[in-house]
Amino acid sequence: MDKSRQRQLVMASARGDKTAYAELIREYYGAVYGQCLAIVSHSQDAEDVAQDVLLKGYIKIGQLRDPDQFGPWIRKIAQNHAKTFLGGRKQQLEFNEQINEPAISHSASQDDCEQLQWAIGKLPAELRTPLVLYYFHGKTLRAVAEQLGASLTDIHRKVRCGLTQLYQLMKEQGDKV
C-alpha cells in the first residue's frame, strides 16, 4: 500500500469510516498477529489479542499524529497489549497450578498445524520473536531488524537459530509419534 493511500485511509478511519479501517486491517493484520504471536506464543491467544489490538486501534486512531506511522503505531499497541496479556496468563497458569488444574498444554498427537504452533510456543522468546516476525514481514530481515531495533546480523543469526530449533522440536515430536 502506498503512503498516500494509507494516509487517506487513516484520516478517513479517524473520521469514523469503518470501511477504510477494514482496509487497514487487511493490510496490517499479519504484522499485528505476528507481533502478538511472537510474544504470547499461542495462536488462539494471539488471534484474540490481535483482534483486541485492531479494535483498540480504531478507537484510538484519532490520536495518531502522523498517518504515515500507522504501521509502527499499531505494532507498538500490539506489543504492549500482548505483553499485558502474557502477564495475565502467567498469573492464571500459576493459579491453575496452585489448584492442581492442568495448564494449557499441547501434545504431540495434535495435527501438523497445532504441532507447529506448539513448537513455536516452545521456542525461547528471543528466537521466537525474530523468527515469527520474519515470516509475517514477508521474509524481510531488514524490517524485523528495524522493528526490533537490532542489527541485521543479529536478526539473521537469531532467525537461523530459531529455524534450527523449530526443526529440532518438530522432528522430536515426529519421532515420538
Binding site: Y21, Y29, A50, I59, L116, V159, M170
Partner: protein
C-alpha cells in the same frame, strides 16, 4: 535420523531462508546431490518452512481478518477524541495569539507615531476632546473652506448677539468659537459687557500668549472695568 555435514548445516539453513549467495547455493546444491543426510535435512527443513509460510500466509490469515472486520462492524465503538482536533484547537490558539500580538504592535506603533512623530495631531485630538487653548470645544476644521464657512457663521452669531444684547451668547462664543470669533466677541464685550463676563474674559486672557499681538481679552476686561464705575454711578 539424518545428520547434515557440519560444514553445510548453516549453509543449508541460510539457503532455506533465501539468504545465501547464488554461487554458494550452487555449491551447496551440488553437495546435497551427493550427500543423503544433507539432502534429507534440506528436504525436512523446507517442509517445516513451507508449513510456517502456509501458516503465516495470507490465505490462513484471511479468515482471521474477516473475523476482526465482522467484529468491527458489529460493535458500536466510540472513537476517542483525536490529536487532529486538538491540533486544530492549538492552531486556532496560535492564530488568536498572533492576531493579538499584531494588534498590540499596531497600537504601540500608533502611540509612538502620535506622541513623537505628530504631536500636532495629538494636540488636535486632545483639543477635540477637552477644548483647545482657544476654548473651542469643536475641533478646528483642517479644511480651509470649512474653516471659512464656520467663521462666517460664527461672525453672524456674534453680530446677532451684539444686536440683541445677548451677553450670554457672546460669552459662549468666547468659550467655543474660533480664535477670530473669540476676539470679535471680546471686542464687542469691551463695548457692551458688564461684570458677569469678566471671569470668562479673564480665563481667555490667561491663555493668550505672552508674546505676539496685544491681548484683546485683557483689553476688553480693562474697558469693562473702566466703564463699570460710570455705570454704577449712573445707577
Amino acid at each position: 535420523m539424518t545428520h547434515p555435514c557440519h560444514e553445510y548445516e548453516t549453509k543449508i539453513i541460510d539457503m532455506t531462508l533465501e539468504m545465501l549467495e547464488i554461487s554458494e547455493q550452487i555449491s551447496v546444491l551440488e553437495h546435497i546431490d551427493q550427500c543423503v543426510e544433507c539432502k534429507a535435512y534440506w528436504e525436512r527443513l523446507q517442509a517445516v518452512e513451507e508449513q510456517v509460510e502456509r501458516w503465516t500466509g495470507a490465505e490462513c490469515m484471511s479468515d482471521k481478518v474477516e473475523k476482526v472486520i465482522e467484529k468491527l462492524n458489529a460493535t458500536d465503538l466510540h472513537q476517542e477524541p483525536g490529536v487532529q482536533n486538538r491540533q486544530i484547537g492549538w492552531t486556532m490558539g496560535w492564530k488568536q495569539i498572533a492576531a493579538i500580538f499584531i494588534i498590540a504592535v499596531g497600537v504601540m506603533l500608533q502611540a509612538v507615531y502620535f506622541v513623537h512623530i505628530r504631536p500636532g495631531l495629538r494636540n488636535t485630538i486632545e483639543e477635540g476632546l477637552h477644548g483647545n487653548s482657544n476654548g473651542t470645544t469643536q475641533p478646528v476644521p483642517s479644511n480651509q473652506a470649512e474653516y471659512a464657512k464656520r467663521l462666517e457663521r460664527e461672525k453672524q452669531q456674534v453680530e446677532q448677539a451684539r444686536t440683541g444684547g445677548r451677553m450670554g451668547q457672546l460669552e459662549i462664543m468666547l468659550d467655543t468659537g474660533l480664535p477670530e470669533t473669540q476676539i470679535l466677541a471680546a471686542n464687542i464685550l469691551a463695548d457692551i459687557g458688564d461684570d458677569s463676563v469678566l471671569d470668562t474674559l479673564e480665563k481667555r486672557s490667561a491663555k493668550w500668549p505672552k508674546y505676539g499681538t496685544e491681548n484683546p481679552f485683557q483689553k476688553a476686561i480693562e474697558a469693562i472695568q473702566k466703564r463699570l464705575p460710570e455705570t454704577n454711578t449712573m445707577q
